[in-house]
Amino acid sequence: MSEPATPTASTASTAATGLPGPTGGQAEPRRYLAMLALFVLGLMGGIWTVIAPFVLNWPTGADGSWTDPIRDTVITGAVLAGASAVAIVITAGFAARAVAQAVAVEANPTV
């Protein structure tokens, strides 16, 4: 006997990502969590890159001004931290939407 196809959390995630969905409803938020952890790691790396010249007492100019290595390192770290922060916000939004879809499908699987 064949039953009518009903949307599940997997099909909902497929519609959200455009790719075949996972087998479990909680797999999609878990994937976002992996990326969130990665971006948090990048944010920490960027912050460290910004403060490293001062923590490690890199030599400054005669009048206390920043040298080229300090300036480049701070700029590089700031770009990295900013990009990671933006990526965290975007990924957190996608994860929240995936969780909301999974909860909605599990609450009403026939819709």
């Binding site: 087998t23 992996a34 990326m35 890159t49 290595p69 480049d72 590089t76 975007i90 990924t91 996608f94």
Partner: protein, 158 residues
């Protein structure tokens, strides 16, 4: 390619470029001479190397997500424990019924079978007389023939 994968790959490339720049910066800005590494060189080099490692991890994670999303996945084989227990209980009941009927057949040899022969009781006439004589129920011993009077496991005649 989804926004998620583009975000992961783009971020990983950015981290890789930053790490590569930090690794090469002391020599690119000519702050590291030919002697021992200065604190600046050491700090920039190891920080850049760590960022390159994060870049590699990001690429691996992102590519892994893409592969897992593209690869068709079989639905997990899940047999509920309750269903398995029901099937086992039903099988036990069927085996018990068969065993009890077999035991009943073996323990009742007079029930239509004696030494491999079927004992039959001829039906008495309706008026109880045969040719004017009172007829007693006659019993005959004749060998059992196939397809006739043979008991099966279930106790029913074929």
């Amino acid at each position: 390619m989804t926004l998620r994968t583009m975000l992961g790959i783009g971020w990983s490339i950015l981290v890789g470029l930053a790490g590569g720049w930090l690794v090469l910066m002391p020599w690119a800005l000519n702050v590291q001479g030919n002697g021992d590494w200065t604190d600046l060189t050491k700090g920039a080099f190891w920080t850049g190397l760590a960022l390159l490692a994060i870049c590699a991890i990001g690429l691996i994670v992102t590519i892994g997500l893409i592969v897992r999303a593209v690869t068709p996945q079989r639905p997990p084989r899940q047999r509920p424990a309750a269903e398995t227990n029901d099937n086992q209980a039903e099988l036990d009941r069927a085996l018990l019924q068969i065993a009890s009927k077999l035991a009943a057949d073996l323990s009742a040899p007079a029930n239509g079978r004696t030494n491999g022969a079927v004992t039959r009781t001829a039906p008495a006439p309706a008026n109880g007389t045969v040719n004017g004589q009172t007829a007693a129920p006659a019993t005959t011993n004749e060998p059992a023939t196939e397809g006739e009077g043979v008991l099966t496991h279930g106790g029913a005649e074929r």
